[in-house]
């Protein structure tokens, strides 16, 4: 089992490396020349040359890549092109904000959707199951901002329970932060819960069709007992994978919702950088998002290996 886990962790590192190359290629090599792309056609040859030197474009691409990667590994992501700020200083507090929001949403979404998914599987074909099927299908089809606006209309405009803007600032108290981020966290929850619920339901049901479950029924166990004792332990692995995938999706869903609620997270930083075409910041944000995504997926796979009873003992 340890060897499997080590393998998986190694694969995670390789993936991160490959992803960093991909991001570098997209931002530096693909456009041909970042300098002329950013400065536009009106730039004189002198400004172009100066700008190229400033971006370090006068050295070969592979060398630039390793410089960039080496810097990134040491926490040096460079300086923003537009406001000359050190990127890492701006990035870290925002990363904390984003992870806080995503974690908050995950805390509500996981128990809720896994619980309801199992409930739907137990009551397969009955009203609860059919209702959840239609409801989740609708939630999946809805764009992020639509959910957010419905929540704002309900909780901000009509009930006046929460503020519509989730403005957090340094030094805000923990309880205040929780209160302010409740609405975006709820919106995120609705966004991912439907997927998780459907997939939990289907993975429990697919285990339910295996022969040993039929055996359990034949020996006279009740449906809920069969699910709790026989099906769930074996459905755990796919459920963990689904949950991890959706948490990773959460980190991305955050980009749009941060924009709706004007929440100072890393998603907003990236969207602003894209609008201003500030390449170093885009690279840095992309790398952080990709890193979080790959790390979460790797962790989930390790967890799946650990809960698999067949791998727990040495042969």
């Amino acid at each position: 089992m340890l060897r499997l886990i080590a393998n998986r962790l190694g694969l995670g590192v390789v993936t991160l490396f490959a992803v960093s190359i991909l991001i570098f290629v997209c931002t530096q090599i693909l456009p041909g020349d970042v300098a002329s792309a950013v400065l536009g056609q009106g730039a004189t040859p002198e400004t172009l040359a100066a700008f190229r030197k400033e971006l370090g474009l006068n050295v070969p691409a592979y060398q630039r890549y390793f410089n960039w990667l080496w810097g990134a590994l040491h926490g040096d992501l460079g300086v923003a092109m537009t406001n000359k700020r050190v990127i890492i200083d701006e990035l870290l507090p925002r990363l904390y904000n984003t992870l806080f929001l995503a974690g908050y949403a995950a805390l509500i979404a996981i128990p809720l959707s896994v619980g309801l998914g199992i409930l739907a599987a137990i009551n397969e074909g009955k009203f609860v199951d059919k209702a959840s099927n239609v409801l989740t299908l609708i939630t999946i089809s809805v764009p992020e901002f639509f959910i957010a606006y419905l929540l704002i209309i309900l909780f901000v405009v009509n009930l006046e329970w929460f503020p519509s803007l989730a403005t957090v600032f340094p030094g805000i108290s923990f309880s205040e932060r929780v209160y302010i981020t409740t609405l975006p966290a709820l919106a995120l929850t609705l966004l991912v819960a439907a997927h998780m619920l459907r997939m939990t339901r289907s993975s429990v049901l697919s285990v339910m069709s295996s022969p040993y479950i039929e055996m359990a029924f034949l020996k006279g166990a009740t449906r809920s007992r069969v699910i709790a004792r026989h099906a769930l332990p074996n459905a755990a692995a796919p459920i963990i994978t689904v949950v991890a995938l959706n948490i990773a999706y959460l980190v991305v869903g955050v980009v749009v919702l941060e924009s709706v609620f004007v929440y100072p997270g890393i998603g907003q930083l990236m969207v602003d950088a894209v609008a201003k075409r500030d390449v170093p910041v885009i690279q840095a944000c992309g790398l952080v998002f990709a890193g979080v995504f790959v790390i979460l997926n790797t962790l989930a796979d390790v967890l799946v290996i650990m809960v698999n009873p067949r791998l727990r003992h040495k042969r």
Partner: protein, 277 residues
């Protein structure tokens, strides 16, 4: 009435109706629009009235008219993206399946890397470097989305290339392209049709989200995601302006999903061996 040899269920009919209505509006809508696209006919965020059914937008244009004009742009861009994505994905997927070897390994590993990070992040990176224009937007999303189509097409192709009739065609001396077009494509079409619906929904929502972030379809073109963005401030005053375009997006995606759900349930029936794909 039967479609694709099967009788649609009730919910599938609703979905088909929604899709037909949206396509009709996208093609012929401007003929019925009560006002012209850029005409200012009211004050900012005027409420619904007999002349303006859905009220006015942020600079007093008629919301319904903007929605009707926006349909063409929003649906057109998403459709174009999905078609290009399918063209790239199916071609590469079947080629990888038929040729195998290093071609397959090379494309598959590249796709693995692209799919190991969220597509939205990659799309943002590329749009950030190139700047957002409609051709760049369509191509970017089509290429990124084709990775998912590639996976499905490759899996389908893998299962089909080992069958006798493909082997027979090979022995006859048919070329790779002929085998892909005449032997594999017709037999893989059923799962690809429902996948087309799913990918369309994904691209449609993806482009709407990008437009909402201000990075997708740019003004002066009316498009639903962008309209939500332009009118978003109204929500804080309890006005419904940004809800209408968001609702239009929702209705079309729900409609397509209802049809896809029905198509998937046909394929999942015992007679269809494709369920596992």
């Amino acid at each position: 009435m039967k479609i694709l040899g099967h009788k649609p269920t009730g919910t599938a009919w609703i979905g088909l109706g929604i899709i037909a209505f949206n396509l009709f509006i996208a093609i012929f809508g401007p003929l019925f629009a009560p006002f012209s696209q850029s005409e200012t006919v009211g004050a900012t965020w005027d409420p619904s009235s007999a002349q303006m059914w859905l009220g006015a937008d942020q600079i007093g244009r008629d919301m319904l008219t903007r929605l009707i004009y926006g349909a063409r742009m929003t649906i057109g861009v998403a459709l174009a993206t999905t078609f290009i994505s399918f063209f790239i994905g199916i071609t590469l997927g079947f080629t990888a399946a038929v040729l195998g070897g290093w071609v397959d390994t090379l494309i598959s590993r590249l796709v693995d890397v692209i799919l190991s990070i969220p597509l939205l992040i990659l799309a943002l990176i590329i749009l950030g470097v190139f700047g957002s224009s409609i051709p760049v937007l369509i191509l970017t999303i089509a290429v990124l989305d084709s990775t998912r189509v590639f996976r499905l097409a490759r899996a389908l192709g893998m299962n089909l290339t080992v069958l006798e009739y493909v082997e027979a065609a090979r022995l006859r001396g048919e070329g790779t392209w002929w085998i892909i077009r005449r032997e594999i494509l017709p037999n893989a079409s059923a799962p690809l049709v429902s996948e087309f619906g799913l990918r369309f929904c994904f691209n449609f929502l993806f482009i709407a989200a990008l437009s909402f972030l201000g990075l997708g379809i740019q003004p002066p073109f009316a498009d639903w995601g962008g309209m939500v963005r332009e009118n978003s401030a109204a929500i804080n005053f309890g006005m419904l302006a940004p809800i209408w375009p968001a609702l239009a997006i929702t209705i079309l995606t729900v409609g397509v999903n209802l049809v896809v759900d029905w198509l998937l349930s046909i394929e999942a029936r015992p007679s269809g061996a494709q369920a596992e794909l």
